[in-house]
């Protein structure tokens, strides 16, 4: 079939454009959200968990001033692990930088002194859950109860209950009350359902799971107890 050169030219141009578009689209989808953020309060074990996942080594750590970024190869793809410092003054800045890239968020909790820090931990978790970017992109959450090797550490069920109770109170004090003379104040993201007590299952878009680890005792052992975390990472990367 003899095509005139103009039609051939147009066909080739259309084909090339379609190819480029498909390539860019595929590229963007692949690199769009491939990050796992490791967040938590000060001294909850984030940098230690980061180095164990990424480098497979146990290290001494001090308070982080900057984020740590490393790669983790899951079975299908490569995830970027980002460890955000927990110090109150810098955590917002680093979190804002990386939240767009979040495919999953691992929230570390120090289970041995949770009772005294529960308000701070819950406020941090609340601020992450109600962040508009996170609420719209809905990454999966893993709440890791660390320091299980200590005697007074609470298990994941107890931690879940404590957090739910605290978040229940927080959403009332932070968002607007439903009164008749209401003109509401700020962000309107209200967690869970209004007439029932807050539970993690009520968050319809965001999936929250729990895990237990004891990262410090891993200095002498193999197979650290990161199985639950690594399972979750595999599931997130899929």
């Amino acid at each position: 079939m003899a095509l005139s050169p103009e039609i051939l030219g147009i066909l080739i141009a259309v084909f090339v454009i379609a190819l480029t578009a498909a390539f860019l689209f595929w590229q963007r989808r692949r690199t769009s959200r491939s990050g796992i953020l490791v967040v938590g309060l000060n001294d909850s074990g984030k940098t230690l968990m980061f180095s164990q996942i990424v480098y497979n080594e146990f290290v001494d750590t001090f308070t982080s001033m900057k984020e740590n970024i490393g790669d983790f190869t899951a079975s299908k793809s490569v995830l970027k692990i980002i460890d955000i410092p927990g110090h109150e003054r810098v955590r917002a800045k680093f979190f804002d930088e990386h939240k767009r890239n979040a495919r999953g968020i691992a929230f570390l909790v120090d289970a041995s002194n949770l009772q005294s820090n529960i308000r701070d931990a819950a406020e941090y978790l609340y601020s992450i859950l109600t962040d508009p970017v996170i609420a719209s992109s809905a990454p999966s959450f893993l709440i890791v109860c660390n320091k299980q090797d200590q005697t007074m550490a609470k298990g994941s069920v107890a931690v879940k209950k404590l957090l739910e109770k605290e978040l229940n109170l927080l959403r009332k004090t932070k968002s607007s009350r439903l009164a008749s003379l209401d003109n509401t104040t700020d962000n309107a993201v209200f967690l869970g359902q209004e007439d029932k007590d807050f539970e993690f299952e009520h968050l319809n878009k965001i999936k929250v799971e729990f895990a237990e680890t004891a990262l410090f005792s891993a200095a002498n052992e193999e197979g650290v107890q990161l199985e639950q975390v690594e399972d979750w990472l595999e599931r997130v990367s899929a």
């Binding site: 001090f62 109150e88 003054r89 308000r119 109170l169 004090t173 607007s176």
Partner: protein, 633 residues
């Protein structure tokens, strides 16, 4: 001699560590990081004391490393700074390639010992050297102007010019000492009264003392005459110092009290009109502060998104970045940009010392950092300064008054907030605004009138309480009265009234107690003692310092002296210092918002409320981004 040396990355992972004792050093290093580096106090010296150790640190901004050395506080080691510099150079040379990945567990012991031995040797040599004489440039005399050193024999006669001359000499000395790096202070007479009286102002007695000492040194025959004159000056002054009882215009004695009493209402209820539109506007959290038009913010946000997107896509360009030369920042290159930033901050009403310290800490953060050729020095300095300001304004701990009040409600005791500050900053007005916010959120409040000095203070609070109860009548809240006033008139002890008020609130199961205190100047010792006593005796949950946004360099003085007074006069191991700041009269400044920075930098405590007017709804919470944006414009 050294107890501990560590090299770790800014992300927290330890690269190499050496310790000679079994002591655990982690808490000390964490304290160093949290107090010095993260709170932007890295400007001045690089040493920090924690318990019995002194820690010195050095930042390497090119590879994002921190070098920390710890030794006993009682030792005075002279070679530590040189050691830090040498170790930094050595480490970088050895591990330049591997530092991109920051793997832990690098081997450094032998080079370190070598460098340590060299540094110790250098220190020994320095100690054994005889002390160098000061050159003329370093001496104190070179700072004085010639005219100030000429002594006029008729100085005693004309006292006024003598005082002015001395004051000018002081100011000139201070200025010149500030311009050049100040040498160790000579033990001259002008120096000692300066140390004794704070900000360089001399009062009469020290002036006379100066003159007497000068006369004695000269050995003039007029010495005794001057001394007599000085004594004569002192005695009439002794009558002036000390607190004199206030003289009311109409005079009077105790018998007149009955006619002056205004704390009880005269017969008949007044017909007042109340503005009921305010009800319901303060429910929930406090609104954020808006500093300027938000159109700029949106545009800037979009710009930033675009720039971020561009940098992400420029994976190809990063290959070329290695080809184009990089330059690294040093203090000389940064100095003009830093000076400009410092002037900008001072123009925006940040206290002068604080602006200087901030610029110093930015310089420390950027020293040695490598930037690409497409970034200008000024823009890098500006970005880093913006980050530092954001960091200062972000609260160090959680600020949620409603949550804490609910917690105390659960525990069955009232949540006590105390307001202190100098005269006329707006304590009573902002107390009423906060009270309105609390009752909008269904908490019952007791106002304790512990200002027993200022005329009309109790009546003012009573009027507010009446107004608030009218806006939120008891019928709407299950017959419970939302605000009550606890007062005991004038002239009584404030600490006692506060204690009784708290007990009353506990028995009546009220949720919050707001304690209003009298305004006091920060260097009025008896009043500061009284405030410290009130706080020690009643142990409030929150001590708020109320400061106005108009204040400039004075903010530093006020806050430092308030904190110091509360620490000194409380005689406890861990005195209760200022927990938060209320920034008032924010509507009177347009964008000169520097007072916020000065106050948060000095105390390290967050700004809890911002007052933006005189009606009940003019209460906002601090929006750090908007404030920093207004500052850096």
């Amino acid at each position: 001699m050294l107890d501990f040396f560590s090299i770790f990355g800014k992300g927290g992972i330890v690269l190499w560590c050496f310790q000679s004792t079994g002591h655990i050093f982690t808490p000390s290093v964490n304290a160093l990081i949290r107090t010095v580096i993260l709170q932007e106090r890295g400007g001045g010296s690089n040493s920090f004391d924690h318990e019995s150790l002194t820690l010195k640190y050095k930042l390497d901004n090119e590879f994002d490393l921190v070098f920390v050395v710890a030794f006993q506080k009682i030792l005075q080691l002279s070679y530590v700074d040189k050691l830090l510099d040498d170790v930094q150079l050595e480490f970088r040379d050895l591990y330049r390639q591997q530092l991109q990945g920051l793997r832990p567990g690098l081997e450094f012991r032998r080079p370190f010992e070598r460098v340590l031995a060299a540094a110790e040797e250098w220190g020994r040599r320095q100690d054994n050297q005889p002390r160098q004489m000061r050159s003329f440039e370093q001496s104190h005399k070179s700072k004085k102007t010639v005219s100030s050193m000429i002594e006029r024999p008729h100085e005693q006669k004309n006292q006024k010019t003598g005082k002015a001359g001395k004051r000018n000499k002081e100011q000139e000395q201070e200025k010149e000492a500030a311009v050049k790096e100040s040498p160790p202070p000579t033990p001259a007479a002008p120096a000692s009264p300066r140390n004794g009286s704070g900000a360089g102002e001399l009062d009469e007695e020290t002036m006379a003392l100066n003159r007497m000492r000068l006369a004695q040194r000269l050995g003039s025959p007029n010495a005794s005459k001057k001394k007599a004159a000085a004594d004569k000056q002192k005695s009439p002054k002794a009558k002036k110092t000390g607190k004199a009882p206030t003289q009311w215009d109409l005079g009077g004695t105790n018998k007149d009290v009955a006619s002056l009493e205004r704390t009880k209402d005269k017969d008949g209820v007044r017909q007042d009109t109340y503005d009921s539109k305010l009800v319901g506007q303060m429910v929930g959290g406090i609104k954020d502060l808006e500093v300027d038009s938000s159109d700029d913010d949106d545009e800037q946000d979009e710009e930033r998104q675009v720039r971020l997107a561009r940098t992400k896509e420029s994976g190809l360009l990063s290959m070329f970045k290695g080809l184009v030369g990089n330059k690294s920042l040093s203090r000389e290159t940064m100095q003009p940009a830093l000076d400009k930033m410092c002037d900008l901050l001072i123009a925006k009403n940040v206290a002068a010392d604080i602006a200087k310290k901030l610029c110093e800490s930015v310089a420390t953060k950027l020293d040695g950092k490598v930037i690409g050729t497409f970034e200008g020095v000024a823009s890098v300095v500006k970005t880093t300064l913006t980050e530092s300001l954001m960091q200062i304004l972000s609260p160090r701990r959680r600020v949620d008054i409603l949550r804490d009040a609910l917690e105390s409600q659960r525990k069955g005791r009232p949540f006590v907030m105390t307001f202190c500050g100098v005269n006329g900053v707006g304590k009573s007005t902002n107390l009423a605004k906060i009270c309105f916010w609390l009752i909008e959120n269904d908490l019952r409040v007791l106002v304790a009138a512990c200002d027993t000095f200022r005329a009309g203070a109790v009546e003012q609070l009573r009027t507010h309480v009446r107004h608030l109860n009218n806006l939120h009548p008891a019928e709407r809240h299950n017959g419970r009265e939302m605000v009550q006033l606890y007062e005991k008139g004038y002239g009584k002890d404030a600490a006692g009234i506060a204690m009784e008020a708290i007990n009353f609130a506990r028995e009546a199961r009220l949720d919050v107690v707001l304690v209003d205190t009298a305004g006091r100047m920060q260097d009025n010792e008896p009043l500061m003692r009284a405030l410290a006593k009130l706080i020690k005796v009643n142990d409030p949950d929150l001590v708020l310092f109320v400061g106005e946004a108009l204040v400039g360099n004075e903010a530093v003085d006020q806050l430092v002296k308030f904190n110091q007074a509360m620490a000194d006069y409380s005689a406890a191991e861990h005195p209760h210092l200022i927990d938060g700041i209320v920034l008032t009269k924010f509507d009177t400044i347009d964008d000169k918002v520097g007072a916020a920075i000065s106050m948060t930098y000095i105390t390290g405590q967050p700004i809890v409320f911002v007052g933006t007017g005189q009606t009940y709804t003019d209460l906002k919470s601090l929006n750090a981004k908007a404030v920093v944006h207004a500052l850096m414009k």
